[in-house]
Symmetry: C2
Subunit: 429 residues, 2 copies
């Protein structure tokens, strides 16, 4: 199959990548030695791109390249330009988020190739959580990241001219916005050949969801909000696979879905993926590692994340209002300043509602849609996996259709605990 690619584009392999890097003096110097001494491995495990790790005698690099199709399915065409949006997103948020993103060394527009810091000894958060590892900083760091990246790109943090320029820059990100609109908000609720689920165990609930009108309306409402609420520059795919972590460090990667959308989409991606990790833990439990304490640790990250986000976003609004919404010159007198506290709290409360809704649709799409998570897929026995997935679907439905039952983050934790399937250690089944 021949796909359109821009003039000069070639798909990299380990040999051509070595040649390419050898021609860039700064990168060559960073790696050190002769190109023949470099070790290059293709390690991409996402659905979309190829990713190379390059190790030289003096240093290392990570190279990400997009192809004119998705990595997982060659016949599924996708604009090769997506890496340019990743590069633009990193450039836009870098002044605000400092060391929470990788260092970008080079971007090659002809090859849609992003050369960045190789993060080591970092691991993908989702893999770490499947393995039962704790990362004490990740919830707070991610909260700080979302607060800063979204506040400073919202109408509260930047003048309208800068925001409109940002909107224009990311609006052409058609391909990935299309993927989200279809795969998150639409496909799981209709018959579509791209869908899959644990079958036959989930056949009944998948059919139930496709016929569940209140659920579908709630999901569609969130889909409409995703497309029309240009609230801030969002990462757009901030799940636990987009975080590289160590116990001491957190880095946000893979922002190729970035565009101006609702802040709750980023909040919900992280929270929804923590809930999936929590509800998948019984499926990973063994007699030696029952996972009860670890599951509680995962759940406890949600209030850390939400509370820190809410506090920091509100503080930034109070102390660094640089946008055109709620112009400070209208609210300078003391009575206004008191009232603005209530206004900020109401705004944050709406973000909580949005977080719930977007978390829920993201939980459902990972179980009934095209792209699944290793949280569940790594549970080899479908009869152990299915109860975890069904519990997740039931909790997600409540979050979408009965949000009044999870009005606070404590309510959400209680609902998650109640939803959780009993651990079924292998030896007892």
């Amino acid at each position: 199959m021949v796909l359109d690619t821009p003039e000069g584009y070639t798909r990299m392999d380990t040999a051509s990548l070595a040649d390419y890097l050898a021609g860039l003096p700064a990168l060559r110097a960073r790696l050190g030695g002769a190109p023949s001494a470099w070790q290059i491995r293709e390690v991409g495990d996402g659905n979309l791109n190829q990713v190379f790790l390059v190790d030289g005698p003096d240093g290392s690099l990570c190279v990400k390249q997009s192809m004119p199709h998705i990595r997982a399915i060659e016949s599924w065409r996708l604009t090769v330009e997506r890496t340019s949006f990743e590069n633009a997103y990193f450039a836009a948020v870098r002044p605000h988020v400092g060391g929470l993103i990788p260092t970008i060394h080079h971007y090659e527009p002809r090859l849609y190739c992003l050369v960045m810091e190789k993060l080591e000894p970092h691991t993908v958060l989702r893999r770490g959580l499947v393995a039962g590892n704790r990362y004490p900083r990740v919830a707070r760091d991610t909260a700080e990241y979302v607060a800063r990246a979204t506040f400073f790109t919202s109408d509260l943090g930047q003048p309208l001219e800068a925001k409109l320029d940002g909107i224009a820059r990311f609006a052409p990100n058609h391909g990935l916005i299309r993927i989200t609109s279809d795969l998150v908000f639409t496909d799981p609720y209709r018959i579509n050949e791209r869908n899959r689920w644990t079958s036959p165990q989930l056949d009944a609930i998948a059919a139930e969801f496709r016929a569940d009108v209140p659920l579908k309306l709630a999901a569609a409402r969130r889909g409409q909000q995703f497309l029309s609420h240009a609230q801030a520059l969002i990462h757009g795919d901030l799940h636990t696979g987009s975080l590289m972590v160590t116990p001491e460090d957190t880095r946000i990667i893979d922002p190729e879905f970035g565009f101006y959308g609702p802040i709750g989409m980023d909040l919900g991606a992280f929270t929804g993926n923590l809930l999936m990790s929590y509800l998948s833990q019984p499926g990973h439990a063994t007699p030696e590692s029952p996972r009860d304490d670890f599951a509680e640790w995962v759940l406890a990250q949600i209030p850390i994340f939400w509370n820190h986000f809410a506090q920091r976003f509100s503080e930034l609004w109070e102390t660094q209002p640089g946008g055109d919404a709620y112009a400070p010159s209208m609210f300078a007198a003391e009575p206004s300043r008191v009232a603005m506290r209530g206004e900020r709290a109401a705004f944050i409360a709406r973000l909580y509602d949005d977080m719930l809704g977007f978390a829920a649709v993201k939980m459902i799409r990972r179980i009934l849609g095209f792209a699944h998570n290793i949280d569940f897929d790594a549970i080899a026995d479908p009869d152990r996996r299915a109860p975890c997935e069904i519990a997740t679907l039931r909790l997600a439905r409540m979050m979408l259709v009965q949000p009044e039952r999870v009005r606070t983050v404590d309510d959400l934790l209680a609902a998650a605990r109640e939803a959780a399937p009993r651990a079924q250690p292998v030896s007892s089944t």
Copy 2:
């Protein structure tokens, strides 16, 4: 003062415009005869641009040119590119709104000059309403226009790729979005040298509004929505000065403020200006023309406008869903179709709320801000004008701060009648 203008730009006058049109064969033929036989008058009466009417032996034209400043104040710089957004807006909505906009004959990007149909014997609706004239079609035509122009550019009516392209096209309209953000949502609520009002009669209420925290918060909330709710391509300035009418015909003009924003902004502009016309009628009353019946006619246009808009938008959604929000494939079964009726009604109800809020801020800005309306300004006696303006401000405040008192369009009419000042015919004062 020397202002930056693009290479090749010159400000037109009647002589240079004749030369320019003479060089364009199609336009020259349309006018007929020799350029020396053409009559050209500059008639612009808005705040921003110059407008020429050109009459030749065989036909006529209207030419609109933007300057690198606003028409009213030369020191107030404004991007000359604004006419390009007007041209782009007309091109975007033309397939949907047919004869409700003028025919565009030519656009000259070098001169930011738009050559269009001269509408005659049309008059500006606002002038007609000040004169006490009735236009039986205007409310229904404008409702049809807003329903079609916004539905087909929303996520309900067009695929996300087309909407994102539109968002990118209009996001650079910085200058006019800045004007709206400052003049509508901010300046009336703070001390600013651009503000003016009927003084001293309105000094007290202007100070009261600047100190009215609930009012300012409600206005700021609408300002934030204006900047972040990319719901559809909106006209952005759809007041009664942007409509050219005869009793038999309605045309929407002056969409240079066009961008992707909240639909309620267009609904509110028209409704708010009808309310201002209604509340100004006592100031225009004379013993010979008491205006009571006419004022009621003006008020009666609001339910015609709102009800026709609501019905048509809902019908378009039901019969021509072409967007990515609420994908029809999710809602094909009968129970979904019933539920979608409720969903559409809830969506329309939110548009009503938005209409109220945007109408109110537009009423306030025309009385306490920079740009005023002839509805009030044509009332020469400030002691007759002031009661009309104060009544308008009081009604607007209720619409913003106590919207539960005007939940239906009948409530709104009742509130307007209650707010109206008594007619004060000249002879009795």
